[in-house]
Symmetry: C2
Subunit: 430 residues, 2 copies
Amino acid sequence: MNRLEWASLDEARRRDALTRPVQVVAQRTRDQVAALLADVRERGDAALREITARFDGVELASFEVTEAEFAAAEAAVGDELKTAMREAAARIEAFHKAGMAKPYSVETAPGVVCERMIRPIARVGLYVPAGSAPLPSTALMLGVPARLAGCREVVLCTPPRKDGSADPAVLVAARLTGATRVFKLGGAQAVAALAFGSDSVPKVDKIFGPGNSYVTEAKQQVAQAGAAAIDMPAGPSEVLVIADAGANVAFVAADLLSQAEHGPDSQVLLLSDDAALLDAVETEIETQLAALPRADIARQALAASRLVRVQDLEQAFAISNAYAPEHLILALREPRAWLGQVEAAGSVFLGDYTPEALGDYCSGTNHVLPTSGAARAYSGVSVASFQNFVSVQSASREGIAAIGGCAYTLARAESLDAHANAVALRMEAA
Amino acid sequence: MNRLEWASLDEARRRDALTRPVQVVAQRTRDQVAALLADVRERGDAALREITARFDGVELASFEVTEAEFAAAEAAVGDELKTAMREAAARIEAFHKAGMAKPYSVETAPGVVCERMIRPIARVGLYVPAGSAPLPSTALMLGVPARLAGCREVVLCTPPRKDGSADPAVLVAARLTGATRVFKLGGAQAVAALAFGSDSVPKVDKIFGPGNSYVTEAKQQVAQAGAAAIDMPAGPSEVLVIADAGANVAFVAADLLSQAEHGPDSQVLLLSDDAALLDAVETEIETQLAALPRADIARQALAASRLVRVQDLEQAFAISNAYAPEHLILALREPRAWLGQVEAAGSVFLGDYTPEALGDYCSGTNHVLPTSGAARAYSGVSVASFQNFVSVQSASREGIAAIGGCAYTLARAESLDAHANAVALRMEAA
């Protein structure tokens, strides 16, 4: 782990300290993904079958999960996990529902009413990864807001296992949220199927969810081509912890490790104004690592991580705002008092008893969050991510009389005479 | 203009009828834009100066609009236009302010509080075109919500004229909305400056606004590269009108023309269940065209437009929802009764006295809207476009006791043991 003293760093080194592990998508990856997308677009199911055989090692006659498969999944998943998923879904629903936007209406001038209508995006695609480990929690994080929005068609894709089945917990989670159709498709080929549609997979308007670099690249390419919108650009997961002298060393170390175990390219930053705390956390991380099954992955991530001593907590928040972390943990004695300093972050965790894992699973907030500094201008998934906001206006004769002159003047100033004429005709008739 | 009978079209012809004029961005354009972006990124102001000399035909020592230039603009713009801009800004503010999201908080379990904080995006860039005509209205549509959001730095770019000045009306509009800095930069080079920053232009987090195909391509490329977020993908403007037998022929023709005059690639669709209305509108368009200064542009757009007879209005709404128009005009006797049928559109105009020009300028709704069918999954610009939504959670000892078990079970199911450990440590201590 890299120890840094912020005060002793010059501008270039500070920039360097906040630079994420390089996210270069090789031209080869881009080309591979482009070729795969073109193949699925052209040959549909035949291409999907071949690609799935090649990458997932299984020949599937049909991609769609059947009722019998859902029933088998229900039987395979234990009650404890089912209960946990139901509880998590209920809290995710409670938090997301309370934040839903409402339609509204304003009379902006006598006889002129402007409104905002809210419509669900008709067809959405949810991608639930199952690489090193299947992620039923992601099915909940995407499926619950999709249901709250009222999307007509919710199509979930998750990779098949070598025996041709899908992960049972993911299927149970999909059913729990009311996903309308589920397909055993993974990787860039799943994104291609959702963006273009095929004989068996319906085309969708927007694609959500995390994935590996192929999935991410495929999402970017279909969005760029206008084939489907996407939730947000995605990169490796990351956490920034701001800890004071009073922070619990074991908790902080455990939080850093729970981020580091996500993948070798995860990034972990700890900022503290107390050198002794940094020393203690460094030692504690080694101790906890010894007991972790995914220690190898975590070690790789920790190699790129940084423990930074700052002069004071104000400096820590300035650094955090410049970095714009996906997850921000405030291991502080008065975390709420500092909340006003947070300008950009995906999700914030307050105090010693709020590990990031709560937000990952079941506090109620969403875990599909902006990474790689995208939190400067993107927000995590919410119900609004599944909705369209449509503005509506209606002018009566009185209304056009009230504001027609204003529109006419502006249209003429912009040399748009047909615009001016469309207004003038009404003003004469009103 | 193309007349079509919907009932007589087969599937392929129906698809064809709803296909927008081809939006192929030539590989040459892509490469040119990529080279320009790389040049600005590397050489900064020197590159901006050269490119501006080449494309705008003016050598600028400095890009930033000075106080003296603002003062000259104030003096150059007449009172009528100033009043119209102030009135428009006031109504845009009234409508946008009423729709602003609020922070909220939910106790999702005993001792677990989840919240949503709202933060302005710190640095935003607004692009205001001034090609065939400068668009002060766009400065209002972007500047007002940026101010309502509270963005710290609002950087507006608009192309210089041949004499080195910027359009006075655009400058007055920029000042009216409180843009913090204004630069005389146009085209892809403006987007490059905003995305990467230079010695004189500050880098921003998100770029807004319409533009020609170079601007659009530049926005796509900087978003793809992660240099800055963008408001939405953009294409040529378009309108779909649904008119019944009682619609006012002159009004409908005027609305179609006011869309057609935007540019040769604008698209115009009229759907009606009444053949006589379609006939009459076709004739009326020719009459009105004769008086239009931009008739040549409008004629080109009309060549790709369609007048479609539908069997009934239900069919018209089904077609409209499939097309997802940027602007949707309901020239119907009971427009509000039909509003429930609208699934996807950028902005809707109700009845005979609500020409699209009202929304373009001053009803209060935004005119930066999704085009090219993007309305299926994107919304127009609102205050939320300038904000980040940050989730916050806080668990007390009671809270971790209440939901820790749920998180632990899910973490174990996903084989993320460090996550489980971070929870277990707190549960033991709580």
